[in-house]
Symmetry: C2
Subunit: 344 residues, 2 copies
């Protein structure tokens, strides 16, 4: 039995190309004492992965050339050398782009990436990578802890049909806010409006986004949850209310840029006493229990909905990531790496 | 007796010109019940005044064409129709660019612009426009309340020799921080280092400010008190530490701009979880008592120093404001409008 892996072959310049990745078959790894061997079922694809492909200092180390791409995974324990896990257990871990991986079970700190044993009765195991996982916690922390919207305030979120944005808007509705999404296509706006229950959704592909946002947010913008940066942020800043809060979660618009583009003029930030705050979900693992309690309940109650955008087979991961960075997905982008015995 | 006034004649395009102002002699105004008539001694010039010359919505209304320019003043009561004031009292008020003005004494809310009776024994009355006035409170609130530096952290402030920046750096030293200033000329840097006791001061007129700042701040930047925006902010963002705080106090670099220039790329804000927060001193009048208590004491103890950059005569105010916006002043820019009986 071999372990199929997707390695980083070249550091992309601009948009990644399929040839920047290499698919290889390696021997199966062997778990040591305190380890588990996991068969990957689901691989999460997320925009932050583009940053790991660059050889620049960031908040975590880049992926080394010739090594597997990193990523959150849900899988099944096939061999355990730790008392806490049994073969057949489902587990969230950070296994990367490969069919099998060894995870340290013993003494590992549980963060948004696990390792965490999953109960397939409680929720579909794939949700541990989406609405009940890192993207959901990102939305929860960024909105509730960083932006702290009050009932009746207007919340805007970009990449509104994405894994994080779709949760942000629903959490804002639960809080009693008016919510406007920003997405690319008409189909995504439809999804956001009809399925997720946002109050408005506009495409950023319009000549004057600032004017369109003004119509969509007649009382101005109190919170902007920013996933994209760029021109969308500029348009939002023309519509912010005094004391608006802008959690900066991602800058997808420039992840493929070869030179850092300029940012928004900050005069509206000064005049309106706006707070822009960058945050990383990894700093907020302490909020995981409360997040899981709240969002699992809301999911059961039907107050939270989600969609998964699934590609079949690890070999498809490179082009799926390229598509994700182009904004082609709706909902949580997942690669189905192996059979999911919980889904019949 | 007439009242000399400086009116706004034209809305400037770009840098103001002397011909944008008009000097006229008007009749002396008459105080009504609850008013005081004040003879202006000191007029404060501040960068925010440039914004009031534009016909754009901001946090306060613009100066109307044909009306006197606004501004904080220290003067002497010459006629009082309010029980709380007596002729001969010295008072901080918002009299604008004129030799005399009427201020509402009764029921007026005391804010950073008064009206407030001054004790000439406690401190020179002109300090009510500078280190013990609006610029001092701006520094106090922006540094202590917004940025909240901890002892040992590195604080950087731009326009370091100006009315606000010079106080920010000294307050940071009092807090036990390492302080680096950014100013334009060698003379200003000398002043900031030798007289005000900053640990470092660099000119922004260098080919690679980011590299110069890296040398001046070997442990990175934890707090940047931003008075100028523009390229200085960009250079700072290349040197910020995780969880850095950037109170946005002013954007002098663009006050004369005819088009809004782009701002800084925000990737370092995301990666380092930086907080950028715009603030206006007028929102923080509640901090005035504590500020006055602290800063009066530090002034008496010699822990706070200040310099005044004085031009003689109201007629000089237009060119002095033009110079201020070019960064030609060192310390608090004041116009001496009339005789100061407390300075012999």
């Amino acid at each position: 039995m071999t372990n199929r892996r997707v390695l980083l072959r070249n550091r992309p310049v601009g948009e990644p190309k399929p040839s920047d990745f290499e698919i290889v078959d390696a021997p199966l790894p062997e778990p040591q004492e305190g380890d588990i061997l996991v068969r990957t079922i689901w691989l999460s694809l997320d925009p932050y992965m583009r940053g790991r492909m660059n050889d620049v200092k960031s908040y975590t180390a880049p992926v080394e050339l010739g090594q597997p791409m990193v990523g959150g995974t849900v899988g099944e324990v096939v061999k355990s050398r730790d008392a806490a896990f049994t073969p057949g257990d489902f587990v969230l871990s950070y296994g990367g782009w490969q069919a099998y991986h060894v995870a340290k079970a013993a003494g590992a700190r549980v963060g948004p990436f696990g390792p965490l044993k999953l109960d397939p009765q409680a929720a579909p195991i794939s949700t541990a990578l989406g609405i009940l996982g890192m993207p959901g916690l990102t939305a929860y922390v960024g909105l509730y802890d960083i932006a702290q919207p009050k009932p009746g305030e207007t919340v805007v979120v970009s990449a509104a049909a994405g894994a994080v944005g779709s949760v942000v808007g629903q959490l804002a509705k639960i809080r009693g806010c008016r919510v406007a999404g920003i997405a690319s296509t008409k189909d995504k706006c439809e999804y956001v409006l009809k399925e997720l229950g946002f109050d408005a959704c506009v495409s950023h592909r319009v000549p004057d986004l600032a004017a369109v946002l003004r119509d969509a947010c007649p009382k101005g913008i109190d919170v902007y949850f920013d996933n994209v940066g760029g021109d969308v942020l500029k348009a939002v800043l023309r519509n912010v209310n005094p004391f608006a809060r802008i959690p900066l979660c991602g800058i997808i618009s420039q992840y493929n840029a070869t030179e850092m583009p300029p940012g928004p003029n900050l005069a509206p930030v000064l005049v309106n006493r706006v707070t822009i705050r960058g945050f990383l979900v990894s700093d907020h693992a302490d909020r995981l229990p409360q997040f899981l309690a709240d969002c699992s309940r809301w999911l059961r109650e039907g107050k939270l909905k989600y969609r998964e955008d699934i590609v079949q087979g690890l070999e498809k991961a490179p082009e799926a990531l390229i598509g994700l960075l182009r904004g082609q997905n709706t909902g949580k982008m997942l690669v189905k790496v192996g059979e999911d015995p919980t889904r019949r």
